[in-house]
Amino acid sequence: MKKLIIIFSVLSLLIFIRPVLGLGANNEVMETTAVSNTQVQTPDEENVLDGAFKGIKTFYNYTGFANATSGHIIMIIVGIIFIYLGIKYDYEPLLLIPIGIGVIIGNIPFVAGNQTGIYETGSVLNYLYFGVVKGVYPPLIFLGIGAMTDFSSLIANPKLMLLGGAAQIGVFATFLGALYLGFNLPEAGAIGIIGGADGPTAIFLSSKLANGINVLADGTTVKNLIGPIAIAAYSYMALVPVIQPPLMRLLISKEDRKIKMKPPRAVTQKEKMIFPVVALILTLFISPSALPLLGMLFFGNLLKESGRTERLAETARTKLIDIVTILLGVTVGASTQADIFITKDSMLIFGLGAISFVIATCGGLLFAKFMNLFLKDGNKINPLIGAAGVSAVPDSARVVHTEGLKSDPSNYLLMHAMAPNVSGVIGSAIAAGIILSFLG
């Protein structure tokens, strides 16, 4: 054994250190005499050595150092900031960290042609990005959401659903704003959905309307805005705890903030089972284009509530949603390749996104105050929960809860805020369906 190995290694090392020993390579190849060999040798020697320098020079042109642009650097820093926010301040870490690292990955400077970049056909990232471009990931995430969401607060107090509707003002106002800024109709529709405060819905709609593929009646091709829209949606969702509180204090009076609401009634298991089925049929009959989103959402919820399919629900809300979240996060992040991402449009979209969240929140809050005009004392709702209508589940609900506690430490609003919160999800999915029907 040892013997064998010695021979092995010696032999192979010989081959390897040949140039040092100065034996011609090509003489084994093209039988030449020892003489011509030595003649060939010296040039060959240099050949190899300065070849090495040439090689390094050549290779340098492939490195990121040779191809880096200010855009790449900026985006990489942005990615690092995302990660930092996720880790340090715990803003949506499960999204900001994958997206952040994705932004870095997507902005490593490379030379096109080796199937490296996310926009190069045949690259691995491109295959994984497929699920975003074709809108496949969002419904799978909605499946998991459905399997982890409890709709009882909504069933117990259906009128709170309207708050989820009011917040959709954000969607349509942003849509209008985008039109004013010169985006064409489908692009504006996709941008508007940022106001839905709902990442998967935003990705789904933009993949259908602003995918860089569709051609309009007037022959112009829509821009690919999936990246900016997704990043905007997720960023502002992460910032809900920063955006909403000031608006609440601004629009809701101290007394109103103190309003205590009646505990929601208990909900039977049977109601919970019927809810997803009925909601699915009703909402989709009204807005069929929302089918992939709402269909999967209520499917997941039925798996959870049926009491017979717990193992499927468990898988849907853990491993399945985790896998999809990982792939979605990193590819959405990587889609922010500097040369494609850093454009005036992206900046406009971020501006509109901020406005849309503000409008949505205000819409929810004001509509809550408006509803109170028609409710007799004792039944009045605490207007704060209107802010939860933007969805961004369950952050905005928690923000409401915290604000409520600030004005009255014994006032637990979380349960009540969950109703508008989840109806906000349904609302923006319906809105997405409507926009898709009109502009798809």
């Binding site: 309207l162 349509f172 298991q269 017979r308 349960m415 609302g427 409507i434 502009l439």
Partner: protein, 119 residues
């Protein structure tokens, strides 16, 4: 890809979609709200009459589902969504476990490996 151009001017069309959209979203949620306010109770009542108490299995769950789970209690106890949900969840699966301890799963029949039902 079909596109309806109600107006030549995209802005006006924008307003149309804005108003239409809001009305429809509201409409949808109102219908949903109405159903769960009025439709569902009726429906459940009818169902109860039809099955007149035969309906053991689920009613159990129902009863269980009620006791010790008024919103107030959970609102106080579960000061976090998770707490609320997970308690709820254990609550159910506790019942399910009892019911399904003999259950098992396979894609032909869903009855092998019931334990994993709680995996």
């Amino acid at each position: 890809m079909t596109q309806i151009l109600l107006n030549t001017d995209p802005i006006s069309e924008g307003y149309v979609i804005l108003i239409t959209g809001l009305l429809i979203v509201f409409g949808a949620l109102v219908i949903l709200a109405l159903f769960f306010n009025f439709g569902l109770p009726v429906l459940l009542y009818v169902y109860k009459i039809i099955t007149k108490g035969k309906d053991k299995k689920i009613s159990e769950i129902k009863v269980k589902g009620d006791t010790g789970f008024t919103g107030e209690i959970s609102a106080v106890i579960g000061a976090s969504v998770h707490m609320y949900l997970s308690e709820q969840h254990d609550h159910e699966s506790a019942i399910l476990t009892i019911k399904q301890v003999k259950k098992t799963y396979s894609p032909w029949s869903s009855k092998i490996y019931g334990i994993q039902n709680r995996l």
